[in-house]
Point group: C2
Chain length 272, copies 2
């Protein structure tokens, strides 16, 4: 029985985009279990590349799943962001103390954040003003070695629980594929500038109709910059990028205000 | 035949998230036709709420569609971001001069940008370093009056073609539901802080199984701030927010670098 004078244990919501059966989410559960009570709400199926999509045309189902341990597990027939929204709305009287997402099977560094369901769930948690961290391992195989991620991830979680995150900030944490002893350190960095350039694989179906498979490769716009997540990961470091949910490009505001918004000799710029 | 001494007319890629049959995309074509050669690549079906999702599990098809005018029209059985990627990869020898997305049926102000397919396509264009603008009208009906949007949108397009946008910046333009004469002006603003709070509609199916429809309402965190897009739109202005694709929260970098990343007495912070 809980002692009311005892400090309340943190409540941690775990989600991901690879689905509740992924080995990455098991590693994430293992990472955060020592810190508090863990509730998992994750997609029924893999949702890679779903970004911040929400399900509005089909109904959602929240299904309790059995586990051998004391972790509460639910699956949702929707996207990672659906999972966060349903969990926040249906499962918590008091908001959780932390939301963690991942561990993604594959990198979410640089601009991959825009496509990532893992990071979308993290950003959704941040919109709710809950400290949120997305974790990804640069290994696309189905059963990679998450041991270094679990160990170093705990240090990140401990710091977030101890120090908090400022409003409107969440974390994008990526792990290189290295053993614990080979990790050079943890590097706080900025988002690398780059682009996923597509290489469409063009084929013909049996009826002679053309179709495309979307594939692509990452092009780094600034391979020599040493303060980016790409550089950190390529050089043996874990990368941590603080992510903002305010997308305003403040440096451009003044320039845009000087533009000429005139129609039929009438100036339409608002006095700011 | 083109005269080689004649200045090349701008090439403009038009897309949206409501599908190629939406009246909003017709309004957008009307808006940009005076500026150059228009190529439309839009989803076959409505893709609202698809955000920056990409299609990786099913093949994509790019279908040429007939039109009465000289606008090239293609549909894609995918998301808005798929449309931009396929267009960039398959249709252009020289990149287009401008990418415009919309006109969305409904607002994409404030944090709606995270869920918006319209703005995801815009951001994708920006990742390609092409001047990109997303347009949205605060009217969710299927056949709204886009006339003010067309007229004022042209002023925005003209300015972007004349002045350019700095690297990594695109525009989020929202129109209030007002007649041309009632528009108070164009206001350059920052993204409002707020959240879409869900209100799940919980029902039972004929077999007695519970399911949820995702609905929600927008909660404004700062209703009194006068420099936001929400304020502008509520007060009769067209809002323009310059959007960054660098999500780094720079103000947090130094604080995070002071965190204690220690495992077994070993400090793991990288020297930056």
């Amino acid at each position: 029985m809980e002692n009311s004078t005892k400090e309340r244990r943190p409540v941690i919501l775990v989600t991901n985009d690879d689905g509740f059966r992924a080995s990455g989410i098991e590693a994430l559960i293992e990472m955060v279990k020592p810190f508090g009570r863990v509730i998992v709400v994750a997609p029924e199926e893999g949702n890679s590349g779903m970004s911040h999509a929400i399900t509005i045309k089909t109904p959602l189902r929240l299904k309790r799943r059995k586990r051998a341990d004391d972790v509460e597990l639910y699956s949702v027939n929707g996207t990672p962001v659906d999972c966060v929204k349903l969990a926040m709305n249906q499962l918590f009287q008091i908001p959780p103390d932390l939301i963690v997402s991942g561990i993604n099977h594959g990198s979410n560094s640089s601009v991959s954040i825009f496509y990532s369901g893992t990071m979308a769930a993290t950003i959704e948690g941040c919109l709710y003003n809950i400290p949120s961290i997305g974790f990804s391992l640069l290994d696309y195989s189905s059963n990679p070695d998450f041991s270094a991620a679990v160990q170093f991830g705990r240090v990140v979680v401990q710091n977030v629980l101890d120090n908090g995150l400022s409003n409107g900030t969440c974390l994008n944490v990526n792990f290189p594929v290295l053993k614990v002893d080979d990790i050079k350190g943890i590097k706080v960095c900025r988002q690398n500038s780059g682009i996923w350039k597509e290489e469409f694989d063009k084929r013909s179906d049996p009826r002679g109709q053309e179709y495309f498979w979307l594939t692509g490769y990452f092009h780094n716009n600034e391979p020599d910059a040493v303060d980016t997540d790409e550089w950190a990961l390529a050089n043996g470091y874990i990368s941590i990028v603080p992510i903002t949910i305010d997308l305003t490009r403040y440096q451009e505001l003044e320039r845009l205000k000087s533009w000429n918004f005139t129609i039929n000799d009438q100036k339409y710029v608002a006095k700011n």
